[in-house]
């Protein structure tokens, strides 16, 4: 897409892109602040806010007590009276502590109050496995939140999107949960220097192809691209759609791609059962694009188990480029039904 070639050939990491978005927002809007555990001098558990307290001070880059429910609630209250809080939940697993505040408060207040208030809260949190951190520091719980009307859920996979979508989230009048991925923080990409936004709720085609549509989001979008490259060598051209937003979900863009390819593989990192891929597949098969499908859609997802500690076990239950290649090949090679 041309958007990534705009005005800069500068490469920075995903971590730096997120930080830059926060810095730009805080420089231009006094009401924006960052709050979370160890976000100050420590710089955040993953170094995302490193250096920010030096620029903005402890009043705007706020180290909290270990009180995820409390400071998420604080974010809701501050948002209600006109602030623009960015709440960092140190590991996305700890978001379980925040469920009441996110599900019953942030997501509901506007509706319960008859539209007479809004909660412009941004919650950033690193999710995902692959670091050998085992079951309580590796989960992908993003699908939980797309089940809650009133929240927006985004999962940028590139530095470009990380910056542009965070800036968009900070202008959005609704609560937005941003799932970052620990393994993405060191990845580099082209990122323009100034302010720009990437709209929430719009998928992005990151590779065009005619044979199979691969829909993914977050870190495993990289697996989809790797798989597509490998498959191209055997003559199978995949179209890779990066959803970027899980709620709202741009299934229309996926449907459009299926019109061209007739085949769909969903690649997601969360557990397969009731994952966001299940929602996407449902939308596709209950819509018009069902008739464009030559095959039943396939899902490459995490196994329905907690994340194990051992590296080999962890790799065994996670998606991988090889699993994506296998899923695509089975769709392409599968014999067409006898009636076709």
């Amino acid at each position: 897409m041309p958007e990534e070639n705009n005005n800069a050939a500068r490469e920075i990491t995903y971590r730096e892109a997120v930080r830059e978005a926060m810095q730009l927002a805080m420089r231009s809007d006094e009401s924006v602040f960052l709050m979370g555990e160890d976000v100050g001098v420590y710089g955040g558990a993953f170094g995302v806010s490193r250096g920010m307290v030096e620029e903005f001070g402890e009043e705007r880059v706020v180290d909290t007590p270990l009180s995820e429910a409390g400071f998420t609630g604080l974010g809701v209250g501050a948002a209600l009276v006109g602030m623009r809080p960015i709440i960092e939940v140190q590991f996305s697993d700890f978001i379980t502590h925040c469920m009441d505040q996110l599900v019953n408060q942030a997501a509901k207040l506007r509706y319960m109050f008859g539209g007479e208030a809004s909660v412009p809260l941004v919650v950033r949190t690193p999710g995902g496995a692959g670091t050998g951190a085992a079951a309580q520091h590796s989960q992908s719980l993003e699908a939980w939140f797309i089940h809650v009307p009133g929240l927006k859920v985004i999962m940028p996979s590139t530095p470009y999107d990380a910056k542009g979508m965070l800036l968009a989230a900070l202008k959005d009048p609704n609560p937005v949960i941003v799932y970052e991925h620990k393994l993405l923080y060191n990845q580099k990409g082209n990122v323009p220097e100034g302010e720009y936004t990437v709209p929430l709720g719009e998928a992005h085609v990151s590779r065009e192809g005619e044979d199979v549509t691969i829909a993914s989001a977050g870190y495993v979008h990289g697996y989809a691209l790797e798989a597509a490259e490998a498959l191209a060598e055997s003559g199978i051209e995949c179209e890779v759609v990066d959803l970027r937003s899980l709620s709202p979900m741009d299934d229309a863009r996926v449907a459009e791609s299926i019109e061209k390819t007739g085949r769909l593989v969903v690649v997601e990192e969360d557990v397969k059962t009731a994952g966001w891929g299940a929602e996407l597949v449902s939308r596709i098969v209950e819509g018009e694009s069902f008739y464009a499908l030559d095959r039943a859609p396939a899902r490459v997802a995490g196994a329905d188990v907690p994340i194990p500690y051992n590296k080999n076990l962890e790799a065994h239950i996670r998606p991988s480029p090889e699993k994506v290649v296998a899923a695509v090949k089975s769709l392409v090679n599968e014999k067409v039904g006898v009636y076709s």
Binding site: G70, T72, V76, A78, D100, Y111
Partner: protein, 318 residues
Amino acid sequence: MRDYTQPLEALETMLRIRAFDEKVDELFAAGKMHGTGHFYVGQEAVAVGIISALQEGDVITGTHRGHGHALAFGLDVKKMAAELLGKASGYCHGKGGSMHIADVGAGMLGANGIVAGSMGIVCGAAWAFKRRKEDRVAVCFFGDGAVQEGIFSEALNMAAVWQLPVVFVCENNQYAMSLSVNRGFANARISEKADGYGMPGVTVDGMELVEVQEVAREAVDRARSGGGPALLEANTYRYLGHSKSDANLYRTRDEIKQWRENDPIGRFVVHLEKTGDLESGGLKAVEEKIYTEVEEAFEWAMNEPEPAPESALEDVYA
């Protein structure tokens, strides 16, 4: 916000809260109201006493037993009645109901159906005031049951660490639904918990308006002048059940009777007669005025139109 500089205003508001919830109880009994309702009858001196120490710009959060907080803060009786009846002209256009009445623009940041659910929210408002150097205070009402929830500890600790302009007001009405404070706490003196967070804690007779006003003024002034948060425990009692479906199996008639004899409105009337702000026998006229006002509000609300069904799909996102 109501102006409580006139003592009669406090009396009128306590009566308004009582008349309102008695009317709601009556409508439930008659099958004219759906859902559920949690009555504030008996606790009037707490909301009125605390809120009378506030000034324009201050904010409050309520509880699921929130009609009293909203009325004491000055929300409109008619729009509240309409909301309870699910009407389009209600505060939440029929989407919130009894447990979610709010007027965020005016500073009433919402009743809350989740016990202790607003304790973080109130810290957020106070945090914003402090950060923006605004001369505003946030008050958090919550029940004794909320003290048993985890976010109570988180909120008090954050407010104390950052010296936020918050006043935490525990309405200890002796029961969390059916759980008495004596069964729910090993140490039932809730104000003593303040010490553990490094803030002052005071227990006050929540049936005595003048005393509530005094401790409230002290805590609110302290918070406003940068002195940080305080925990107030107001001992009070709900005369009616937890909600409209409560058979009161966990407390005796005698107990209820004893508290009723200690009625906050009755005690304030005696006080007003002493100060000369109310003539002996003058209560009757005030009662008549307020009960008529509430009756008319519900009558008006009954005839208001229902919200359009399609509006159910609106207001999810801004």
